[in-house]
């Protein structure tokens, strides 16, 4: 074997999440109300465009979740300590083409002056990889960039035409959905990706950071962290929130009091502080048990999962309270009373009569929470209680980039890249959440 696959815990959970999502598609197809709701989402142009962008992000995160360890050359089957992902393999050039330090987007020369050895003066040294094909003098830079952009746009257009043709059966099968929005979004994405891909083969499209890493590579890697924080946290907290919320509302009495006490207590601790306290303590656990983890990636992953779990603990209370209120109402409904009179067991009533009627609330909560969690990750990592410092995320990127604005001239590209990607991810999530809420919330104001 040329490589050894590595399944990190977060990967496994992410795959599980995708399996759950696919399974729920089948569930939704059977359920009349949910199907109608999702059809409304599908008819919303904004919702579909946002969903397309989100799916592209999910695809990148999925590629970045297929981890492996490369086999080292030699007769024995030994594997590199460094854990890589399929995305790393795809972006091989970006990852290995590190410079010494800062360089501006598409630059051919370094950002900082250096003493060059062939003469006494100080000058901007030539980059090792940025525009290396242009030769030492870096002549014809403008023409080369324009040529690459035009070629990239052309390739993007061809890819898009291919997608458009491939999507024809879909459009025929479901003509009422907002496919125009999907394909316009795809067109924009294809054109951008085409131009960026061709440029990235010769330059650092978004520049390099302090230690010379390609910023485009860092941002693409950050997507997985942001996306997984938003989804895994929900996956972790959802069972508890749904079960306890329904139980409290349905059972009433001392069970209700106990569950209410539990979430009021958790809720009264300011989230950041609980997270700070828990992350600090998890760090002690991780540090005192180094033998649990074979690689640095596994250790970072453990901290990542701990963060998801803690965020889940602080964020389930809102949904739990909503569901409790809803279950209180549903308990008095005639069909639930009828089921009781017919001797249906409590567990079955909860599963068959109460749960399906709160599904829309659960779905709205999932999509509404997502963007907040992505934003929270950045803030927490910035404060130092987020992901492991070795994990590439928007928060760690911003953290290492924030002092750069004070430099003269300013290093703006790391921050700008993190801003644009994060904004795109969160905006898409917010717009999609709005579309879902409009479709499912019976009280939504039109």
């Amino acid at each position: 074997m040329m490589f050894k696959p590595v399944l990190l815990w977060s990967d496994a959970l992410f795959f599980l999440l995708i399996a759950v999502a696919l399974a729920s598609v089948f569930y939704i197809r059977r359920d009349e109300h949910l199907r109608l709701g999702w059809r409304k989402v599908g008819q919303s142009r904004v919702g579909m465009a946002a969903a397309t962008l989100l799916l592209v992000f999910v695809g990148i995160a999925l590629l970045d979740s297929l981890h492996y360890r490369e086999r080292l050359p030699g007769p024995q089957a030994t594997y590199a300590v460094e854990v890589r992902s399929a995305l790393d393999a795809l972006l091989g050039g970006l990852r290995s083409g590190a410079e010494k330090t800062y360089s501006a987007p598409l630059a051919t020369h370094s950002f900082a002056k250096e003493t060059l050895d062939h003469d006494a003066g100080r000058d901007f040294p030539r980059l090792r990889h940025g525009g290396a094909h242009l030769g030492a003098s870096a002549e014809g830079w403008g023409a080369d960039v324009v040529r690459r952009i035009v070629q990239g746009l052309g390739i993007g257009l061809i890819v898009w035409l291919g997608l458009w043709l491939a999507g024809a059966p879909l459009r025929r099968a479901a003509p009422h959905l907002a496919w125009d929005a999907v394909f316009v979004t795809l067109l924009a994405l294809c054109l951008t990706a085409g131009a960026v891909a061709l440029l990235a083969q010769g330059y650092h499209v978004l520049g390099t950071d302090k230690v010379g890493q390609d910023v485009l590579y860092l941002t693409l890697k950050s997507i997985r962290t942001g996306l997984l924080i938003g989804t895994l946290t929900t996956l972790i907290m959802l069972p508890a929130a749904v079960f306890l919320g329904l139980l409290a509302g349905y059972a009433g009495g001392w069970i209700d009091d106990l569950i209410q006490y539990l979430y009021t207590t958790l809720n009264s601790i300011p989230g950041v502080l609980l997270i700070a306290a828990a992350v600090l303590m998890m760090q002690v656990v991780i540090d005192t048990n180094p033998e649990w983890f074979a690689t640095a990636a596994e250790r970072a992953d453990a901290r990542f999962l701990a963060l998801c779990a803690i965020l889940g603990i602080t964020s389930w209370t809102g949904l739990c309270r909503l569901l409790r209120g809803e279950a209180l109402k549903l308990r008095e409904m005639e069909y639930v009373q009828a089921a009781r009179a017919l001797g249906v067991s409590h567990a079955r009533i909860l599963a068959r009569h109460v749960l399906p009627n709160v599904m829309h609330i659960v779905m709205i909560a999932i999509v509404m929470d997502f963007s907040g969690l992505v934003l929270a990750e950045a803030v927490l990592s910035y404060v130092g209680i987020g992901v492991d410092p070795t994990t590439i995320s928007f928060g760690t990127m911003i953290n290492s980039a924030r002092m750069e604005l004070a430099r003269e001239p300013m290093v703006w590209w790391s921050l700008a890249a993190a801003f644009v990607f994060m904004f795109a991810l969160v905006l898409a999530a917010n717009l999609f959440a709005d579309a879902v809420r409009d479709a499912f919330d019976p009280r939504a104001v039109k």
Binding site: P270, G271, L280, D287, V379, V426, N430, V445
Partner: protein, 325 residues
């Protein structure tokens, strides 16, 4: 009313005890003080004597719940649980790792924190409600649509970028105010202006949209239709009939803001170098000073409970139909 308040305060007690138990188990049961000592002292090759010394300096060298070595009631009081956890109810937070008294430190830092948090709270509420009313006034017009789009865009930007952008633009490029720092008295104003504006802007998108939804919901009610039908000008309908009736959800939402203020103050104070409780907490997190973090968790929860109580009282002021019993 007084009976109600007393009862509510009594309800708060078990919650605070719960908070205390959670933090206690996080800090002392998940990890033993030995683990913490070993990590604080750094290297792997720490002598047992060094750990004992570290624990003794901080008072962690006692048993967790029960001290058989002591006599009488001291069997319960000479324990980590009593010393570190129960004492908090008497507002005795012990000493930070640098030897300073935490309670005194909190008293000193409360002023700068409030100097930022109160204007942020008031201005933020005012700005969001004004914008929301404006959007409702122009509802179903392109202006309303553009406003909502702007709100969604604004709430999709991380708070970090508002801070970094604000510091860069106002303090570095325009050089209107100092980038960071703090001074006592009236001189504080120049240091507070930028943090307040940045915090208000950062929260504006989400809260404007939230209030707009509330107002629109109120707008579909019958009494509003009647008010318009009898010929009241739109302005009066908005202020007298929509805003007044929407006060209850607004007040509920305002309490939700209090923990957010705490989170905001962490970032804002750290970025702008304001010596308040937020930057104190951040410093403690970075220095892994657990005593301070524990104290801040306790205070944060207590503040939240007080906030809930204040909301209940404000309900009676906003809506005479509500009586607390």
């Amino acid at each position: 009313m007084l009976a109600y308040l007393i009862r509510r305060l009594l309800y708060a007690l078990p919650i605070l005890i719960g908070v205390n138990v959670i933090t206690f188990s996080l800090f002392f049961v998940v990890n033993t003080p030995d683990d913490v000592a070993r990590m604080q002292l750094g290297a792997k090759h720490v002598t047992p004597a060094a750990i004992e010394k570290w624990k003794a300096e901080r008072g962690y060298d006692k048993p967790l719940f029960f001290n058989p070595a002591a006599a009488g009631g001291a069997q319960l009081t000479e324990t980590i649980f009593f010393e570190k956890s129960v004492r908090m109810f008497m507002l005795d937070f012990g000493r930070a790792d640098d030897g300073r008294d935490i309670a005194r430190e909190i008293r000193l830092r409360m002023g700068p924190s409030l100097a930022v948090a109160v204007p942020v709270f008031v201005l933020g509420l005012w700005a969001a409600i004004s914008f929301a009313l404006l959007l409702v006034y122009f509802r179903a017009t392109p202006l309303d649509f553009a406003g909502v789009v702007l709100c969604v865009a604004m709430m999709s930007i991380s708070g970090l970028f508002y801070i970094i952008g604000g510091q860069w633009l106002v303090a570095k490029v325009w050089q209107l105010v100092p980038i960071s720092g703090y001074a006592g008295g009236l001189a504080a104003a120049q240091f507070i202006v930028l943090p307040v504006i940045v915090s208000v802007l950062a929260g504006l998108g989400a809260s404007t949209r939230w209030y707009r939804t509330i107002f629109l919901e109120e707008y579909t009610k019958d009494h509003v239709r009647t008010a318009r039908a009898k010929g009241l000008p739109e302005r009066l309908v908005l202020f007298r009939h929509v805003l007044r009736n929407a006060l209850i959800p607004i007040l509920t939402g305002a309490v939700v803001l209090i923990p957010a203020l705490f989170m905001g103050s962490l970032l804002i104070e750290a970025f702008f170098g304001i010596p308040g409780l937020g930057s104190y907490t951040i410093d403690a997190i970075h220095a892994q000073d657990f005593a301070v973090v524990r104290a801040m968790v306790f205070i944060g929860s207590a503040l939240y409970i007080v906030g809930l109580l204040l909301t209940d009282i404000s309900y009676t002021l906003a809506d005479p139909r509500i009586r607390l019993q």
